[in-house]
Amino acid sequence: MIIKEVFMKNFGKFHNERLRFQPGINIVYGGNESGKSTLYTFFQGIFFGLRRKRGVASRTDTYTRCLPWENPSWYEGSVLFEAGKKDFRLERNFESRSQEAELYCVTDGEKMSVEEGDLEILLGGATQRIYENTAAIGQLKTRTEEGLTEELREYLTNFQTEGDFRLDPGAALDRLKDRRKEWEKEEKKAREKKERAREKLLDRIQYTREEIEDLEEKLERSRESFRDIGQDRQEEKPAEDRRESSFPLVFAALFFLGFLAGCAGAIFFQLSWLIPALIFLLGGAFLFWYFRDRGEKASARSRKEQDRAIRNERKKGQQITWKEALQDKRNLLYNLQEELEELENDNEKILKAQKEVQSISLAEKMLAKAAGNLQSRRGNFLKERTWEIFGELTQGRYQRGIIDENFQIRLDTGDRYAGLHQVSQGTAEQVYFALRMAAGELLCREEELPVILDETFAMYDDKRLCEALEWLHKNRAQVILLTCTRREIEALESLGIPFHQVDLQIRAGIRSNS
């Protein structure tokens, strides 16, 4: 990008001020209070807007400092620049809160849209922060050695985060870890819940098993008792039968024989008929007694039998009930086992949590890797390029340097490494300058921005100044150098480097009414 013209309609002490610039080196020369710093601010403000602080701080912020001295409600300006072989005009009204800008393509006579990012594209994606850290080099705030070292280190630390948004990889990783822990807790909870349900089911299964065993035992016992009864009866019966059939027969035969003997005696020996009659009667009485006894016995037995039959019947009924219950319990056991199987296979909630955990773990891994890659890639480029530029600037006086993990910088003086505090302030500033130029190349790869230097070389000796100017002349498309001395002009003239000079009129430090 080449800035062609700046028009400050109303900006700080400037009023309808039009400044023209050329490609190559431009020297803006003006004494103190001529408005160089205001111009420096304008370059930033026109492209990115002016930052406003809130509250009391706003009284001293850049925005307030650059409020037009006259007509403060009319706070605007424009810039004409070339990018991609086309001319553009950017106008900005600083007065309103949003400081909206309007962008025109002068070559095509077209209005562009800042909201939709047309300006961003023209700036090659450079943000205000990138611009401040690379192309625009303001006056160093501190001039002490430690201050400079500190500033350099801070610059390198923050260098990881360009843009207006500072990413914090450490905090992001912590956040991810927290979220992963949440899901891990979910997973644990789901597992515990499942385990509780499983235990409950296992209890029921165990209980049903016991019931089954109990029933099986009962059935076995009842079957045994059935067998026992059957055996008893079989053992009992023949003895009884024998008694029943043989015992009275002997008696009956005896009586019958007695009776016959009596009869024979009465006939042949003319004994009294009373004897056989007596025997007959005796036999009859015995028979009567016997049959009555037998009948009684039989009825008693049949009652016993009936009882037994009822008992057996009841037992059989019970057996059937038990058998049915057993079968039911077995089916229930089967059902419970099926339920257990289903439960064990149901990992829906656990898997869901696991999936989240996996995703987050992957995010953590990738983020750490991306951060590492970026840092090393960038760091390497930055280191290489910084020492390259530094080498060119110092014309080989220092070969290389080292930037370590803690952004400690050491310079290779040929025989030893010297800390930054051990070399001269000018050298330290050269490192700083090289670093910025390298960073600019790294971060604004798509569009080279003009380098704006505000009294950057004040601490350089003549030799260093010439080296720097020469380097800029060779390596940068446009440089705008703000200075209050003629050193740079003289140096350029002596080096024979062409340059464009812009003179700023010295303006009164207080508002004049003229």
Partner: protein
Amino acid sequence: MRFFHIADVHLGAEPDKGYPWSQDRSREIWDSFRRVIEQAGRDHVDLLLIAGDLFHRQPLARELKEVNAMFSTIPDTKIVLIAGNHDYLRKDSPYRKFPWGKNVWGLWSQEFSHVDFPEMGVRVRGCSYESREIRQPLYDSLKKSGEMPVEILLAHGGDEKHIPISRERLIAGGFDYVALGHIHKPQVLLEDRIIYPGSLEPTEKNDTGVHGFVKGEIKKGKVRTAFVPWAVREYKELRIPVTRETTQYRLTQFLQELIKKMGEKHIYTVLLEGKRDPDTEFHLNQLYSLGNIRAVEDQTRPGWSLEELCRKYKGSLLEEYIRSFGEKPDEEAEKALEYGIGALLETGEEIL
């Protein structure tokens, strides 16, 4: 001749175990079945076909007693049952031994068998499951015998592991009516002829939509059927569109009204879809109290586009991170991307 065709009643199931409505659902399944029997009685239905999975698991004797008692209240209705894959005939299955009432016929064998009802001129053929799975396409080669004026096939299955069914072959079988079971979603394979009535009541969260049974009439060899919505409640899926403007409060309000409108008795699965404000994170747990909500799934994506982010944070870690996932991240990677971007943006700070 009038008939009812029910299937997949799943008596004894405990849907959504662990959720507050689970017990109620268990009871409602029994109630719904009882009401169908009562309805069959009122409508003087001649034939009640139960196409398998009457029970969710192995039936217990007392449960069969209960069912048989219900059947006995409609003595004029002939009832034919088969066992499906859930209540399949184990060796101890009480289905076979149970002293069923006079109006109940079970085709308790994996071999095809049939019952004839000469007074109606109807034959019902079918077979039961004797194992949890049957992978053979048993119905493929089955043909109407022609021995009765009307022949009905009582069948259960229709997926890879449970008697695969080919529609064409079923049609070619020539049955006057095929009473199917197993698929829980009601569907008609052939108008008035080959029908899944679906489960009588939905038994799990995927059984969305209307549930009921099929009633039909066969007159002079012509079959006419109608679906009867019967289930007490439905599983419904609510897709809630989310935009950048959706907040927790608005979401709650919206869901509450929607559930009120669609019926508070139903059971819902809530899906949040669309692009949410990247800074918004919904508290899903709070939504469960708004009704019978089975699950809330947040499928929203943060409303950023990766290209936009890459452009906005050009050269930064964020871009490096996004690019490190390549062109086409898989599902896990996409989630990881989202988590990482979220964490970076949440922990970063505006520099002013």
